[in-house]
Symmetry: C2
Subunit: 172 residues, 2 copies
């Protein structure tokens, strides 16, 4: 009985630690500069907002995912996004698929290759008041981008102030 009580205590202690880590939004990874954003745990499981393709230097296929707050706000067309919203932009290199092209009988198919980087917009209207209520971060292989790059985020997003600085629309 002494052993069982000990085991139960250990499980509760571990669960508590996991809960605290998730509730605070912190992962074990590094913290990005300026806005202090870390990679949100479980973001790869979030629901899909939309997809896109960028040519040029980026040359990627991308998916926008949102936490439940983001998805609910999108679906209810609620602006501004509420505090706690996080939008994730995943991207992968833009790769022609020989396998798919053979089946289609022509060169037309492009798929996601290696991941390039992942970006996050985190809504906290007080903490990030100077940048429209949004904190910005970018990570490549878990490593945060530096401050000069993150300083370019908000100026680029300013043209879509009417949509709370978020470019991507929800794809039904």
């Amino acid at each position: 009985m002494g052993r069982i009580a000990y085991l139960l205590f250990a499980v509760v202690a571990v669960s508590g630690a996991v809960y605290i880590a998730n509730a605070s939004g912190h992962s074990d990874g590094e913290t990005a500069p300026i806005f202090g954003v870390t990679i949100p745990p479980g973001y790869r499981d979030w629901k899909l907002v939309s997809v896109a393709h960028e040519e040029g230097n980026l040359n990627d296929l991308r998916a926008l995912l949102g936490n439940d707050m983001a998805i609910n706000a999108y679906r209810e067309e609620k602006l501004p996004f509420p505090d706690g919203t996080i939008i994730a932009r995943l991207a992968w290199s833009y790769v022609p698929s020989e396998e798919n092209n053979k089946v289609f009988g022509r060169d037309q198919s492009f798929v996601a290759g290696a991941p390039t980087n992942v970006q996050f917009m985190v809504k906290d209207s007080r903490k990030y008041a100077a940048t429209g209520g949004w904190g910005f971060a970018q990570f490549k292989d878990g490593k945060p981008a530096d401050a000069p790059l993150l300083k370019t985020c908000f100026p680029c997003h300013e043209p879509v102030k009417a949509r709370d600085f978020v470019f991507t629309r929800y794809a039904p």
Copy 2:
């Protein structure tokens, strides 16, 4: 007390009905021919497998989503996919974004426009034994595609028999 008991019963009855509807995989929509697949409830909330772009007549941006069975099998690299797996292919028209291009300073950005159609692969190794264990369906605005179109699905997927007839790889 009599009223409380009645209310509790009503809630349980409704929950039961919802559970049965979800467990059977049936929605209120029409049933596609040949394989008898209906639109799986809640598929738009499923996790992302990957994204792609098709040129040519399709000219779309697409996202592959999977139910939990699909996602687990992908992440654990388990083949064949277990019975109960459903993979959804959503697609939207491929639309240049003037708004994004202005910000980037060049024509490079393509986003998801109107939805084109949605396809499903449903794994049931007994029911669909003649087609590699997969049932196929396509819906446009909730209306199922006809039998001649669905007959083309499996022959196209046969070249990827080694990956259990699934083209799309998981994008990390």
